[in-house]
């Protein structure tokens, strides 16, 4: 049979852990103290290791960018939302000169970040100088609950140096038709 404490106890919390800690200290101070110290030490080591891994990840990210995408021929495509609640983005596919280069399925959290002004780096690659065509295919649920799939194209001329394109997604009342506008950052 269950005791009342088992069934109707409060949700586990820090206070309970602390009480347990006090009890254990009373029971066997020496043994428990050394275990506790080891646990704290392990926590500190894990924390230090995490910091080192994070700093390494940042360095590797920068190194990868510099090796993979030389600035002279680099093209980056960003995606932003022009309006917070006009549509719910499901997926985006990106084609450069009819070649699929990137695609993304959105989680709720990612879409929430876009709604709060987040910018997604959808694609980074290298292209030769000259004219190119960027095509984007998006699927989304419009505010009037329609499921939509729309294609938009943008012609651009890749010039020497870093080249960035910002795609901004919008859908205005009354028909909530999704529109993608492109802006080139020189």
């Amino acid at each position: 049979m269950f005791t009342a404490g088992q069934v109707t106890g409060s949700v586990p919390n820090r206070g309970r852990l602390k009480l347990t800690g006090i009890f254990l200290v009373v029971v066997g101070y020496t043994v428990i103290f050394s275990t506790h110290a080891t646990a704290d030490e392990l926590d500190a080591e894990i924390s230090r290791l995490k910091a080192d891994v994070a700093s390494l990840a940042a360095d590797v990210f920068a190194l990868e960018e510099s090796i993979l995408h030389p600035a002279d021929s680099q093209v980056t495509v960003f995606l932003t939302l022009a309006r917070k609640d006009s549509l719910t983005l499901d997926s985006v596919e990106l084609y450069v000169d009819d070649t699929p280069v990137a695609s993304h399925l959105y989680t709720d959290r990612e879409f929430g970040a876009l709604q709060q002004g987040g910018v997604q780096q959808v694609y980074t690659g290298n292209l030769p100088h000259g004219d190119h065509v960027l095509k984007t295919v998006l699927t989304a649920r419009a505010r009037d609950d329609r499921y939509v799939r729309r294609e938009s194209t943008h012609r651009f001329r890749k010039r020497p140096g870093e080249f960035r394109i910002q795609m901004s997604l919008d859908a205005r009342a009354p028909d909530y038709e999704p529109e993608v506008s492109f802006r080139e950052w020189k």
Partner: protein, 555 residues
């Protein structure tokens, strides 16, 4: 800075100053706008990286951002990376600003509690409750109520909870208050009232998963307390609302059976216990339900079936002890992380086919039971972090090995042949220019002219690139060598970190194994106790039957 620059232009230029100042203002304001746009872009990228589970990248994007949202984004990324001390510094700056004060104060307060600095936590919770909105405010108020409750001030906790909006956090607060009342009061009336309020509050929670889980728990507790208070109808009413796919279902079914037995409805009680028996013995309530079946038959007067039910219970306990023995030896051999977490994960490959039957997997049942302990959750979280750090380091090392090879290949390619081809490229460029000129003279439509103009511009770009090619080729080897050096350095750092991670993970897993083995051993003890009870029941039954036979013989 802008003002001083304009001022210098104004003083330095004399009469011609007007034009210079205007020019300076235009240049500077466009530079400022461009810098602002760059900052917005960096902040946006950092925000998205954070949301897509890449806090490291988020930190890279936000490293040069000051003020809001830079500080807030950095603080969140640092928290996600477990760097609490650095995060605390940014959070402290955040609560002194105008944005996200409540959320920052809430994180600071929780960090203070985790670091055993309980004295400063209430102050931060107060700030979070004052400055926060919605869920942040409700969480802060809940934590304040919890601090009061844990200090023994239940009235004050109740007052805080009564000022909160209906929802998950309020319901959780009332549930804990009910737990306190049920421990202190002989009469469970106060606890039941608190649970009823919690149930009403939980109805307003919009997050369905946590709400379903909390409601199951509340209903099960209310059912149990009503049963103890001999309000069997009420108990049955609460327990029948517990959904069948909840972790609390087996225990609720057991109590449901108890309440029905108290109303002499043994047949219905046995139906509930029979359903509870379908769940693995690892779940609370299942052991008791097996015993309950025998008791049910006994009370209904079917002594033969009662004996069979007790024997079945005994066999099932014995078999579960073997399962536990195997589980313990597997933990000793492969470790608790592999046995309880990884193998359970792997067994759910067809998760899309899974339904409530996932609750019937014994290993998952033990994992859920084990995870009820907050320190087990914490330790599993740590091992999981270390495992993903190991995997990420390995992936990075593999990538960098490829980069290293490619850089070495590029260094081995001589540049002379490329620079020798520059002349031929320039000659081709000239030929194309001449052809374009001829075509432009013939172009009769604006569209054609535009196309040709774009080609002219592309040729200009190519010419610029070719002019810069010499300089770039001269620097190529130095640039590649520098990147190769960096790659080598990073690879050796990765190697170091991998060995550190492996050693820390080994220690963390060691502690996890000890904890899991203790958990398995506790379950085994419970089974031994249940076996004892079953044997006692069987002995009573045989004793009774023997006496009956004697009596009949005497007559």
């Amino acid at each position: 800075m802008v003002v001083s620059f304009v001022d210098r232009c104004w003083r330095g230029s004399g009469r011609r100053g007007g034009v210079s100042v205007l020019l300076a203002i235009t240049v500077l304001s466009s530079a400022a706008a461009s810098a602002r746009e760059e900052e917005d872009l960096a902040a946006g990228l950092a925000r998205f990286a954070l949301a897509s589970g890449s806090p490291e990248q988020s930190l890279v994007h936000s490293r040069n951002l000051d003020g809001y949202p830079g500080t807030w984004l950095k603080a969140q990324a640092l928290m996600a990376l477990g760097q609490t001390d650095s995060a605390n510094r940014h959070l402290q700056r955040q609560i002194e600003s105008e944005h996200q004060r409540g959320a920052a104060a809430l994180i600071l307060a929780r960090n203070a509690l985790d670091e055993d600095e309980a004295a400063v936590a209430p102050e931060f919770f107060q700030i979070a409750a004052r400055a926060g909105y919605g869920e942040v405010r409700q969480q802060a108020l809940y934590e304040l109520a919890e601090l009061e409750r844990l200090a023994g001030h239940r009235d004050r906790a109740g007052r805080i909870l009564s000022g909160m909006e209906a929802g998950y956090w309020t319901a959780l607060g009332y549930m804990n208050l009910a737990a306190d009342y049920s421990k202190r009061d002989l009469n469970p009336a106060r606890a039941l009232v608190a649970l009823r309020v919690a149930l009403a509050m939980s109805e307003q929670d919009a997050v369905s998963d946590r709400n379903r889980n909390l409601r199951s728990q509340l209903l099960m507790r209310a059912g149990y307390l009503s049963y103890r208070n001999e309000e069997y109808e009420k108990a049955i009413g609460f327990l029948e609302q517990v959904p069948l796919d909840s972790y609390h279902t087996p225990r609720a079914l057991y109590f449901h059976g108890l309440a029905l037995t108290a109303r002499n409805n043994h047949r219905a009680a046995m139906q509930s216990w029979h359903r509870a028996r379908k769940y693995p013995l690892a779940y609370p309530g299942v052991q008791d339900a097996w015993l309950g079946m025998g008791r049910g038959y006994d009370l209904s007067g079917y002594l033969g079936q009662a004996g069979e039910a007790y024997l079945a219970a005994s066999a099932s306990y014995e078999s579960e002890r073997v399962t536990l023995l195997n589980l313990a030896s597997q933990i000793r051999q492969d470790g608790a992380w592999q046995t309880l977490v990884q193998d359970t994960r792997d067994s759910e490959l067809q998760w899309f086919l899974a339904d409530s039957r996932t609750l019937t997997q014994p290993r998952l049942a033990y994992l859920l039971g084990f995870m009820e302990d907050p320190s087990a959750q914490d330790l599993i979280g740590k091992v999981s972090d270390l495992a993903s750090a190991e995997a990420s380091l390995e992936e990075k090392a593999n990538k960098l090995e490829v980069f290293r090879g490619s850089l070495k290949d590029r260094l081995a390619t001589p540049t002379n042949s490329v620079s020798g081809r520059k002349g031929s490229f320039l000659a081709r460029l000239e030929i194309l220019r001449d052809r374009l000129k001829g075509l432009r003279d013939k172009a009769d439509r604006p569209a054609r002219l535009e196309t040709l103009n774009r080609s002219v511009m592309t040729l200009q770009d190519i010419e610029v690139s070719l002019e810069q090619l010499g300089g770039r080729l001269a620097n190529r080897d130095a640039r590649l060598e520098e990147r190769l050096r960096k790659t080598e350095a990073v690879l050796s750092r990765i190697q170091e970190l991998r060995s550190q991670t492996a050693s820390i993970r080994w220690r963390a897993e060691d502690r996890l194994d000890a904890m899991a083995l203790a958990f398995v051993s506790r379950h085994d003890e419970q089974l031994v106790h249940a076996l004892d009870k079953t044997e006692q029941q069987i002995a009573h039954l045989y004793e009774y039957l023997a006496l009956e036979t004697l009596e009949r013989g005497g007559q």
